[in-house]
């Protein structure tokens, strides 16, 4: 047996600096609470924001293509982008804790500590190409997220957290099984060496079945986390139970982390050209987009509608993974970058209009009727909300149109090799036409219907400066997209291309 040779140079701690910053931030918050409890939440909010701010700085200052932590951390373009999206999404989320109404979860320092731990976990997922470390990151992030959801402390929030926890555990089991199979076949948990070994041995007899099996287990695990249909059952209930900003957050950050893992993992399968995995991903994506759009049509609550809409967006993005082109992979990140602002903006609008108790509907906080005639009560929020909806629907010139255009273009480009992709592109395009109906439904309620009764203050119930700031930033990003798409896309393409995808 060879002696184990530990070389501290291999630690290369600098590669972990963005994660360590969030970890330290979380510990600092816990220590402060230990020494002097009962401090105001504004302190923790600002501390958390500063932490994320420094983490973004640390992330941006990292050079690409270095390894650390005994070669288990890989800082390449994809991990930089993934971490950037995770941190930026978190940065947008934190100010939403400063609401007018008191929601008690935000008064606990633990909330912010857990929040930073969660980011830490997701950053690990994005930055590692070691199957075990990804698993650790996934569990750290997810467990913290379940707790954060439950801290909203309503009956539905508990239900949501338990549901998410159960389904998350199932997904973790699938992930572990997939990882085990891959390890059994290749004897390695490092994705890069897995790729190399599979490449060498793919023509051996009996190789194909375990490779496909491992891939399918991974698809199920990732399907649960990014909520592809039929693994989506938890999503609408979880979103409904969680607070609006938490739901918006869940529709982006955990999914981005999982998307990075999917890109790394399925990148291997795409290079091996395993047709069945490709086909499964494309079919899942089509089913997800179409069925989620159908389900969204019949929802009565705006938050549930947005939940299904985010499922359908995830399906739309998923196609790009099967294309195995730089443009496809880049458009995933572009799409999520744009989706983050628009979707969080929309959820923040719901948050602004949140009352302490349901006053419009027995069950739902945000039924469509709540927004009826909003243009007469509050014209500017109504216009902004309409812009978010139109952007989600993919109406130009708003931001998501460009994301949609890039993904469609990537799908069409892939048609050169396999003309079935033209049909996929058409299905995806027509799905947008279905989707526009439920987005317009909200616009119709806001603009074309009269207010149900005289509730002038309805849309401002939870208004606060920080919320308006987030909405303003999101709206600005959504409207002016045309001017920054080019630098943004070339930034993303460079990073993704440099990572070899």
């Amino acid at each position: 047996m060879e002696p184990i040779n530990v070389n501290l140079n291999n630690l290369n701690l600098i590669t972990m600096s963005p994660m360590l910053v969030t970890l330290i931030g979380a510990l600092v918050i816990l220590c402060i609470d230990l020494i002097k409890p009962k401090l105001d939440k504004t302190l923790y909010i600002t501390l958390a924001m500063l932490t994320i701010f420094i983490a973004i700085g640390a992330n941006l200052s990292l050079g690409t293509n270095q390894r650390g932590l005994f070669d288990t951390i890989l800082i390449d373009g994809v991990s930089l982008l993934g971490q950037l999206l995770i941190l930026a999404g978190s940065m947008l989320f934190i100010p939403l804790a400063l609401t007018k109404r008191r929601f008690h979860e935000f008064s606990y320092p633990e909330f912010f500590a857990l929040f930073l731990f969660m980011i830490f976990g997701f950053q690990f997922m994005a930055a590692s190409d070691n199957l075990i470390l990804i698993f650790v990151g996934l569990e750290t992030g997810s467990l913290a997220l379940y707790t954060l959801m439950a801290m909203h402390n309503t009956r539905l929030a508990h239900e949501a957290a338990i549901k998410y926890f159960t389904m998350g555990a199932l997904a973790a089991a699938f992930y572990a099984m997939g990882a085990v199979i891959i390890y059994a076949v290749t004897g390695s948990v490092e994705i890069y060496s897995v790729a190399r070994i599979l490449q060498e041995r793919q023509n051996e007899i009996g190789m194909l079945m375990p490779v496909i099996g491992g891939g399918l287990f991974m698809i199920v695990a990732i399907g649960f986390k990014v909520s592809l249909i039929p693994f989506h059952m938890w999503t609408p209930d979880a979103y409904e139970g969680a607070s609006a900003p938490m739901a918006g957050y869940m529709s982006i950050v955990p999914k981005v982390a999982m998307m990075v893992v999917a890109v790394r993992l399925f990148g291997v399968y795409m290079d091996l050209n395993v047709a069945i995995i490709k086909l499964t991903i494309v079919l899942l994506a089509i089913v997800t987009t179409t069925v989620a759009n159908m389900m969204a049509l019949v929802q009565k609550d705006v938050k549930r509608m947005l939940a299904y809409s985010s499922i359908s967006h995830a399906g739309f993005v998923m196609v790009a993974i099967a294309l195995n082109t730089t443009k496809g992979y880049s458009s995933i990140f572009l799409y999520y970058g744009l989706f983050m602002f628009t979707n969080l903006g929309a959820f923040t609008m719901l948050w602004i209009s949140r009352h302490k108790y349901n006053i419009h509907h027995d069950r739902f906080h945000h039924p469509y009727e709540k927004f009826a005639g909003m243009i007469k009560l509050a014209p500017i929020p109504a216009v902004i909300m309409a812009i978010f909806m139109l952007s989600l629907a993919g109406v130009p010139p708003f931001s998501l149109f460009w994301g949609k255009m890039y993904i469609l273009s990537a799908i069409v480009d892939a048609g050169k090799e396999n003309s079935n992709y033209y049909i996929v592109a058409l299905i995806m395009a027509l799905n947008s036409a279905i989707a526009v109906y439920y987005y317009l439904k909200l616009v119709v309620y806001m603009f074309l219907k009269d207010p149900v009764d005289n509730r002038g203050k309805v849309v401002y119930a939870n208004r606060a400066f920080s919320l308006e700031l987030v909405v303003g930033v999101a709206a600005f990003v959504t409207i002016t997209s045309m001017f920054y798409i080019n630098p943004l896309m070339s930034f993303i393409t460079d990073l993704v291309g440099a990572s070899g995808y």
């Binding site: 243009i375 139109l390 109406v395 130009p396 010139p397 149109f401 460009w402 255009m405 890039y406 469609l408 273009s409 069409v412 480009d413 048609g415 050169k416 033209y422 592109a425 058409l426 395009a429 027509l430 947008s432 036409a433 526009v436 109906y437 317009l440 616009v443 119709v444 603009f447 074309l448 219907k449 045309m482 001017f483 798409i485 080019n486 896309m489 070339s490 393409t493």
Partner: protein, 508 residues
């Protein structure tokens, strides 16, 4: 003024944003002033336009997303110039004639946003830019129909939106595919129309792309069987909505055929002359019959719109300079005439709150000025010589005669059927005794309505007698277009059908 087109697009946009700060009691004057200024700007564009030249003028090009070949690329030629002027004119006239009381401020601001999109569609030479304006135009129209429309307004507005949106998404896939073909051929991305014009596509590809674009445009025109959204939209839209919808928004579809389908896919266009012409003829005759069966005045004009759009499509697919010039002229004439007719129906609706023909009769005695203008517009709509309606219809059909005399004769019956339903509308509403006592005390046109309608009457007569100032530049640009199509055509039948007139050849 080299950047007058940018000014034309962004002036209404800025004016619309400023409009939020104008007090709602003064908003009408603001709206009229802004739209008049925009109209004058477009007239200035005409004045500085060099009619002798056929190509794009006032070209502006600025990279927007250079890595993907998308640029801010504008230009105007004889084909688009007059449609732009008509768009600004009809917006101005629509605002002058507004009789809406509730939410007037929102309506005027929305109309200004719509004007941005309309002008943008017709002056964009970058396909993505075109697509952006094309899609964006749906949003203000959705609001106009949905907020100020009749009882089923929400249904009508959403139907309009989703129908058009679905069609244009298919077109978007086509656009992206064409861009990819351009990329594989030349190695660079470009969405510039003039770059795409240089692309020679194999016939198999042209066929698919032709139908992808066709779907987007045909729904907008609207061509049979995609026309069902239009009667709803017109039936429910407020007067100004119908005016703009009929005058300008429908023209986006027929303009798209001329600007995109024909020059990009000349062979496929020629190959599909027969199916498209059959659809157009069905649309002409079937909707004319439906128009005759209507009880509601506005529905008669809505269906007559579809019928006239059929003639425009026939002219476009004649593939020669006469037919295409005629169809473009017919777009203008249909815009002005149907716009005026919708406005006239709006006038009577404001007074009586009904549009049913059975409620009226003998209006000519009570409202003589109104009846006179209505009859003039009816004559123009029917296509009486010396009115604007005649020239376009005649040229379109004359152009198509070279392609297929038989189909032209069938399509020509549209003039007769058109006369039947329009004259019966006039007869039922204006002549005979005043049967309904409620009609006896109706006021004739007031000054606001006269200000809106008299310019249109003047244009109808002026261009009916002397179309040359408009037809000349149109003809120049169409000849260049036909020449381009002729040069690009690969199949022998396309070479044969796309006729280049002798003069244009000599000029080259």
């Amino acid at each position: 003024m080299s950047n007058i087109l940018t000014l034309l697009i962004f002036f209404p946009l800025i004016a619309a944003i400023f409009g939020f700060f104008v007090n709602k009691n003064s908003i009408r004057v603001y709206g009229i002033a802004v739209s008049a200024a925009e109209f004058l700007l477009s007239l200035w564009l005409w004045k500085s336009y060099d009619s002798a030249q056929a190509g794009f003028q006032f070209v502006e090009k600025m990279p927007l997303i250079p890595d993907f070949g998308i640029s801010y690329y504008l230009g105007v030629d004889g084909i688009s110039l007059f449609i732009v002027i008509m768009a600004t004119l009809m917006t101005m006239i629509g605002i002058i004639a507004l009789s809406v009381k509730d939410g007037l401020k929102n309506l005027i601001i929305t109309l200004l946003f719509l004007e941005v999109a309309m002008v943008g569609v017709f002056v964009s030479l970058d396909v993505i830019l075109f697509y952006v304006f094309w899609e964006f135009s749906l949003v203000p129209m959705l609001y106009i129909i949905g907020a100020w429309g009749g009882s089923k307004r929400v249904y009508a507005a959403i139907k309009f939106f989703i129908y058009t949106f679905a069609g244009s998404l298919v077109m978007l896939v086509g656009i992206l595919y064409l861009a990819y073909l351009y990329y594989t051929t030349t190695g660079v991305w470009s969405f510039s129309l003039t770059d795409w014009y240089a692309l020679l596509l194999p016939m198999t590809v042209q066929k698919y792309l032709f139908w992808a674009f066709f779907l987007g445009f045909a729904i907008k025109v609207p061509m049979f069987p995609f026309h069902t959204w239009l009667p709803y939209a017109h039936g429910q839209a407020p007067t100004v909505g119908s005016v703009i919808l009929a005058a300008v928004l429908l023209k986006m579809g027929s303009y798209g055929f001329v600007r995109f389908s024909l020059p990009l896919f000349p062979d496929a266009s020629v190959a599909y002359i027969t199916p498209v012409a059959v659809i157009a003829i069905i649309m002409i005759i079937y909707t004319a019959m439906v128009a005759y069966a209507q009880k509601d005045m506005k529905q008669v004009i809505a269906y007559s719109s579809i019928s006239h759009m059929g003639v425009i499509i026939i002219g476009t697919f004649a593939m020669n300079a006469e037919g295409i010039s005629g169809s473009i002229f017919q777009m203008l004439s249909h815009g002005i005439v149907s716009g005026a007719l919708f406005m006239l129906v709006g006038v009577i609706y404001d007074r009586r709150h009904t549009k049913l023909m059975s409620e009226f009769g003998g209006l000519a005695k009570v409202m003589p000025t109104y009846a006179t203008i209505f009859v003039i517009m009816t004559m123009a709509s029917v296509g009486l010589p010396l009115t604007i309606g005649f020239i376009g219809e005649y040229l379109s059909l004359a152009g198509f005669f070279k392609v297929s005399p038989l189909m032209t004769v069938i399509a020509g019956t549209s003039i007769i059927v058109g006369a039947v339903y329009m004259l019966s509308l006039v007869k039922k509403s204006f002549f005979g005794p005043v049967t309904n006592p409620e009609n006896e005390k109706l006021k004739d046109l007031d000054s606001k309505e006269l200000w809106a309608l008299i310019p249109l009457v003047a244009i109808v007569v002026w261009l009916g007698i002397y179309p040359k100032p408009v037809l000349g530049p149109i003809n120049n640009s169409t000849k260049a277009l036909v020449q381009l199509m002729h040069n690009k055509a690969q199949t022998p039948e396309a070479k044969k059908i796309i006729l280049v007139s002798k003069k244009a050849k000599e000029a080259k």
